[in-house]
């Protein structure tokens, strides 16, 4: 390996974005109540996940909040061993995409199942969660 070539360090910059959630506030509030809510277009009937305030199909903003079941089937998954910068303190995690009974899909961590036991087509439940750091999230768990 050649010796490192000369470089000049840039000024360090730490960025945090304040992300507006006014229009999806109910989703985050309901997680604290142990429920998963999403939106449905009252005009065309399209059910969304993730929830949106405006329908891209018919452009109506007349939407309603509906509670989702927790019944999901794994469509695909991966186990992430090499982690990005802000996840360095976590253990490797399994990410899965599950299709809910209502037809919408959710991407989330799949917990408490070994990688070798994880299969496409397996039935799991979608569970809202407030993490130990206070982050509002949701995860798939075995039934």
């Amino acid at each position: 390996m050649a010796a490192a070539l000369p470089t000049l360090k840039s000024r360090p910059l730490s960025l945090t974005y304040e992300i507006p959630i006014s229009k999806t506030k109910k989703f985050w509030n309901e997680i604290k109540e142990g429920k998963i809510y999403t939106t449905k277009c009252k005009k065309c009937g399209r059910l969304f996940f993730p929830p949106v305030a405006d329908c891209p199909t018919c452009l109506s903003s007349d939407i309603e909040w509906v509670e989702l079941s927790n019944e999901a089937e794994i469509e695909t998954f991966t186990h992430v061993s090499v982690l990005p910068a802000t996840f360095q303190k976590y253990e490797p995690y399994t990410i899965a995409i599950g299709r809910l009974r209502e037809g919408v899909r959710v991407l989330a961590w799949l917990k408490d199942v070994k990688l070798e036991d994880t299969k496409v087509g397996m039935k799991v439940k979608l569970v809202p969660k407030v993490s130990s750091e206070g982050m509002l999230t949701y995860e798939f768990l075995p039934i």
């Binding site: 992300i19 993730p50 695909t76 991966t78 982690l83 990005p84 995409i97 991407l107």
Partner: protein, 388 residues
């Protein structure tokens, strides 16, 4: 729309390029492209620069690059289409000339990815989907996005980890013959299968490296081809582009990229040819599964039969349709914004019969080539068909 030709191409050495900054790296592609075409910066009224950025210090890469390469004063735009930024730049330059607005245009692709550490690169590329819904809580990485497709493809079609390894072995083999490639060594299926997991089922050799690089293409009208006395113009026969949802969960399935299939159909329609007419292709193999899905999305084989094509060696030189015989993103390297232009660079060399090593030159009869460049995980796709 009028005919547009590629009249000059240039490509920097791809690799860990700590010896140069962004603009210096771009210069290594721009100058050879000028020399190849026999033109200078004064002949170029419009420049498009493909770069995804975020991992290097400059916010306005087009402006910095144009100044350094003597292109200031030309019309200038920075094109972003994630890993297809180079193709977005190429398409924008092509449309400028095809429309008759300018007679000559230049597309430059450049990316400097190694000024930050690997976890930071994984973070920044992992955010390139829908940060809010897929990264914020779940820390998805780019290998993981494609691993989700690999798992689905394996479950539905019986594609195996060995099949994925074969793509890597093929692309390393050709990279070792390509002087601009990042990796210059062959690997075995055993090496690939025994490598550490990055995002199961993808392992180290299933993933493209983090690479610095630049590529430049000069396009011109038919009149200018005559005026500049270009010996071997390569014509843009057709171009197609499409896009996919930001959230992976809003896709129809995970066994292919709908945007890629649509872009290919549009390009074939534009060129008036079909998949069977193509004699050499570059496909977006950021991960090995991506090359297998590309075979299917382009139509080189039926859906679900991509693994069969690699097993039978049909995508090698001498096979039915040689793919990525420059080493691909996998082994030539994937400097994100440079890749689209570098695909055009490679195909131009192939169509002129100038591939550096004889074993890498594809024998041609129809002189038709195709570049398939995906941005993100099928968020963008550009397919370009070239004809000599």
């Amino acid at each position: 729309m009028r005919k547009v030709a590629i009249i000059g191409v240039g490509n920097s050495k791809f690799g860990a390029r700590q010896d140069v900054n962004l603009a210096e790296l771009a210069f290594e592609a721009v100058k050879p492209a000028f020399e190849d075409a026999g033109v200078t910066g004064k002949d170029i009224p419009f420049v498009t620069l493909g770069s995804a950025g975020g991992w290097y210090e400059e916010t306005l890469p087009a402006v910095v690059t144009a100044e350094y390469c003597g292109l200031t004063g030309a019309g200038l735009v920075h094109c972003e289409a994630a890993c297809a930024s180079g193709s977005a730049a190429f398409a924008t330059a092509y449309l400028d000339v095809a429309s008759g607005h300018n007679d000559v245009a230049m597309a430059v692709g450049v990316e400097k990815m190694r000024e930050v550490d690997t976890p930071t690169i994984l973070e920044l590329i992992g955010r390139a989907g829908y940060y809010f819904w897929e990264f914020h809580n779940f820390g998805i990485t780019f290998p993981a996005y494609y691993a989700l497709h690999a798992t689905a493809h394996m479950a539905k079609y019986g594609t195996t980890e060995e099949d994925l390894a074969l793509v890597s072995v093929k692309n390393h083999k050709y990279a070792a013959m390509n002087p601009v490639a990042h990796f210059q060594r062959v690997i075995t299926v055993k090496d690939a299968l025994e490598a550490p997991a990055i995002a199961w089922p993808l392992k180290l050799y299933d993933c493209c490296p983090v690479t610095d690089g630049a590529s430049a293409i000069i396009l011109a009208s038919e009149e200018k081809v005559k005026e500049f006395k270009i010996d071997t113009p390569v014509w843009v026969a057709g171009i197609g582009y499409s896009s996919g949802t930001a959230n992976l969960t809003n896709r129809e399935n995970y066994v292919g990229l709908t945007a890629a299939a649509h872009a290919a159909q549009r390009a074939f329609k534009d060129a008036g040819v079909g998949p069977d007419d193509i004699e050499v292709a570059t496909a977006h193999d950021c991960f090995t599964i991506a090359e297998i899905m590309a075979y299917e999305d382009i139509g080189f084989c039926k859906k679900g039969e991509g693994a069969k094509l690699i097993r039978e060696g049909q995508t090698e030189v001498g096979g039915k349709i040689p793919v990525n015989v420059d080493g691909g993103l996998k082994a030539k390297g994937h400097p994100i914004g440079a890749t689209g232009c570098s695909m055009i660079y490679e195909l131009t060399k192939q169509l002129r019969g100038e591939a550096e090593k004889r074993q890498r030159q594809v024998p041609l009869k129809k002189y038709l080539a195709l570049a398939h460049n995906v941005g993100g995980t099928g968020h963008y796709c550009y397919v370009t068909i070239l004809r000599r």
